[in-house]
């Protein structure tokens, strides 16, 4: 039912782009140039591979410390090898579960240093098989190089990918109503709070201008003025915050007829501005790192309001616990 598309070129009519479209195209091109300019390895999948490697090695170190010590030609240091195993697993889990794994990959680099130091110490002891130890040092050095490369790329990337780029989201949904009905409802911006969860109110203040009030965490409120920058009746509306407002954001919605007379397909693009700025910060709080989830859920509510007249809820129903709904519902809605 729902499709989140990053590839907007598929099935898009070749019509003149709105300002938002244009801005997005430029941005995407800049992004892909930035990424393409690297080595051709995707640092995220490299990090994932390193994460799994960490976990695998860690498990081996914990389960079979003796064999592992033998493999690298050192004396049997069971507790030490096991503690290194724990460290490996921690790094691995950190890399795999963290949306920003850079610090965890750096933790691997630190671990590599420790490994190398231990192996170097082992070289001094006559009891050890030095040939094997040298081999192990070579192998660890190779992995260290990979870790450093990956960590550097990730650290450089975090600034670009999620630090400074505007928070954007797209969503589309089929609605069992005509283009005209969808357009008419959306065009009256005072309707937006009925389905956009973070809005408290919108007032149309004349022709193309409107005043928006968003709910923040607690009782915080954020307000700004916006204007319609482009509209094609029954097909498209684009809006953006007025230049000079505290908040910088823009959005557009397009309605196209669904094949076979099955209503229309609404496609929404939202740009919530720089995450560092007020609304961006607020929205980051509200929707974590996934603004597209909010946009998709809002669009689903738009569909409900249009098709059945209201958004169905279970808020306030009885239950054999203190609250009518649970954490699962709040994630899902």
């Amino acid at each position: 039912m729902a499709t989140l598309t990053e590839t907007r070129d598929i099935a898009k009519p070749a019509e003149p782009r709105t300002d938002t479209h244009y801005a997005r195209q430029v941005l995407n091109r800049q992004r892909s140039e930035r990424q393409g300019g690297r080595m051709g390895i995707n640092e995220e999948s490299l990090a994932r591979a390193l994460g799994w490697f960490s976990i695998g090695l860690g498990i081996a170190e914990i389960i079979a410390p003796r064999s592992l010590a033998k493999l690298v030609g050192t004396d049997n240091h069971k507790p030490l090898v096991r503690s290194y195993g724990l460290r490996e697993i921690a790094s691995g889990v950190g890399i795999l579960t963290n949306p920003r794994p850079a610090p965890w990959v750096w933790s691997r680099v630190g671990g590599d240093m420790l490994d190398l130091a231990s192996l170097a110490a082992a070289l001094k002891s006559r009891r050890n098989e030095r040939g094997k130890t040298v081999g192990a040092i070579a192998a660890v050095t190779g992995v260290t190089a990979l870790d450093v490369l990956c960590a550097q790329q990730l650290s450089a990337g975090t600034g670009g990918a999620s630090g400074r780029a505007p928070m954007q989201a797209e969503a589309s949904l089929i609605i069992n109503r005509s283009q005209e009905e969808c357009y008419r409802f959306w065009r009256n911006f005072e309707n937006l709070p009925r389905f956009m969860s973070y809005l408290e109110a919108v007032w149309s203040s004349g022709d193309r201008r409107s005043h928006w009030v968003a709910r923040g965490p607690g009782s915080a409120k954020v307000q700004w003025d916006a204007e319609i920058v482009n509209e094609v009746p029954n097909q498209r509306i684009s809006w953006r915050s007025l230049p000079g407002s505290d908040i910088e954001n823009s959005g557009s919605v397009e309605f196209e007829p669904a094949p076979g007379g099955r209503g229309s397909i609404a496609r929404v693009q939202m740009d919530f501005g720089q995450p560092g700025r007020a609304l961006g910060k607020l929205l980051t709080k509200l929707m974590g790192k996934y603004p597209e989830r909010i946009v998709m859920k809002d669009l689903r509510r738009f569909k409900q309001v249009l098709e059945v007249g209201e958004v169905i809820t279970t808020e306030g129903q009885p239950a054999g616990r203190s609250s009518s709904t649970t954490w699962l519902d709040s994630i899902a809605r």
Binding site: G309, I312, G316, P318, A319, T325
Partner: protein, 388 residues
């Protein structure tokens, strides 16, 4: 009010909770006069349905009297006697308009979550996990019924509750399973599971013109009900080899259609059960598809496999090659109850069927936990009706 709440695996508890209120303008509040425990409630009870939450009010087979209606309700008024279908459906979306009510696009407020699990979301269902909306269910004194103009069926004649209650789920569910078999005169239909849905599938298969219906189970009381109430042939799978017996009955060809009225907690004697039980316990599969596998292998070439039993997640070792190479059609789905309520009420009115034949136990709502325990042990317990 009193309501039966899920408090964890194998733990149902009747508690005092708040009375339901109108939350949407198309809601109605129903005072429940009869409510039943469904076989699919046992999947909740046994902890196999994901996203159940402590304190959820369960139950999705209920009927009663309208106490209050929301401002937008037009077809119902206070005092109407209604049976409530278990899927919640808006009546306005593409799927409702196509008659696929259990796939309503607007009734699951947690659709986003369901999409993560299943790709797309079906409709909301009363008291059946947060994946399906997290709606309070009907094993209670009162229930809130959303989209009251779309779902509830008015009962305007003097039928007893037990004669019409099962229009809420199991009668339409058994009927839809039989209808999916596209039965032609002379057909032989095999039904795995002679619980309440299986009993209605057997009856419905005969109503739709099947020549022979074979019920498969391991509980003598259920097999006997299938023989006595519907003149079915029966196979006790603990005593006979099901595939061999079916071949013998059909001269080697196999039944024209096979109905799985068992679902995710299937049993069998022998290793297969142990295999699936272990995989299920290790979370390597979520559902045990033993009956399903057998039904596929038993089905005649070009026949139909109709799945009415509930599955939740992933199953393992399904003989898909058998399905593909032998041109078997698979039909399944949560029941589009709204579509069947009126025509099946007419069959009841004409005296073609009296659904109350499945009831074996009548209890007070307060004894619901005991009812679950008994139904789960199954011996002689086929259908429990609770009186709030």
């Amino acid at each position: 009010m009193r309501a039966n709440c899920w408090q964890g695996k194998k733990k149902m508890q009747v508690e005092d909770v708040a009375d339901p209120k109108i939350l949407n303008s198309q809601d109605a509040i129903v005072r429940i006069t009869s409510t039943a425990i469904c076989g699919s409630d046992l999947h909740l009870y046994n902890g196999f349905v994901p996203t159940m939450q402590q304190g959820d009010i369960v139950g999705h087979e209920f009927m009663g009297e309208v106490m209050e209606v929301g401002s937008a309700v037009k077809n119902l008024k206070v005092g109407d006697r209604v049976v409530v279908p278990f899927p919640i459906s808006c009546g306005k979306c593409f799927f409702c308009q196509e008659g696929m009510f259990s796939l309503c696009e607007n009734s699951n407020p947690n659709a986003w979550l369901a999409e993560k699990f299943w790709g797309h979301s079906p409709s909301g269902i009363y008291g059946y996990s947060h994946l399906l909306g997290g709606f309070a269910g009907g094993q209670a004194q009162y229930a809130r019924v959303p989209f009251a103009d779309v779902g509830p069926l008015k009962i305007e004649n003097g039928f007893r509750d037990e004669q019409v209650l099962f229009l809420s789920d199991i009668f339409p569910t058994g009927y839809m399973a039989a209808e999916a078999c596209n039965i032609k005169p002379g057909d032989t239909i095999a039904v795995w599971g002679c619980g309440p849905v299986g009993q209605f599938a057997i009856k419905s298969a005969f109503l739709l013109g099947a020549e022979r219906v074979i019920g498969i189970d391991r509980y003598p009381a259920r097999l006997q009900m299938a023989r006595d109430k519907s003149s079915a042939q029966t196979i006790n799978y603990e005593e006979a080899d099901v595939l061999e017996t079916l071949k013998e009955i059909t001269g080697g060809r196999g039944p024209d259609a096979c109905i799985d009225a068992v679902g995710m907690e299937s049993h069998s004697p022998g290793v297969q059960y142990a295999y699936d039980r272990v995989k299920q316990a290790m979370m390597l599969e979520t559902d045990r598809p033993i009956a399903l596998r057998q039904a596929i292998l038993a089905c005649r070439n070009g026949g139909t496999l109709s799945v009415a039993g509930v599955y939740g997640g992933f199953i393992d070792k399904v003989p898909f090659g058998s399905l593909m190479n032998r041109s078997i059609t698979v039909k399944t789905g949560q029941t589009h109850v709204h579509r069947y309520m009126r025509p099946l009420l007419e069959r009841i009115e004409k005296g073609e069927i009296d659904p109350s034949f499945v009831v074996t136990h009548r209890m007070s709502l307060n004894d619901a936990p005991e009812g679950y325990e008994m139904f789960d042990r199954r011996d002689g317990c086929i259908k429990v009706v609770l009186k709030p």
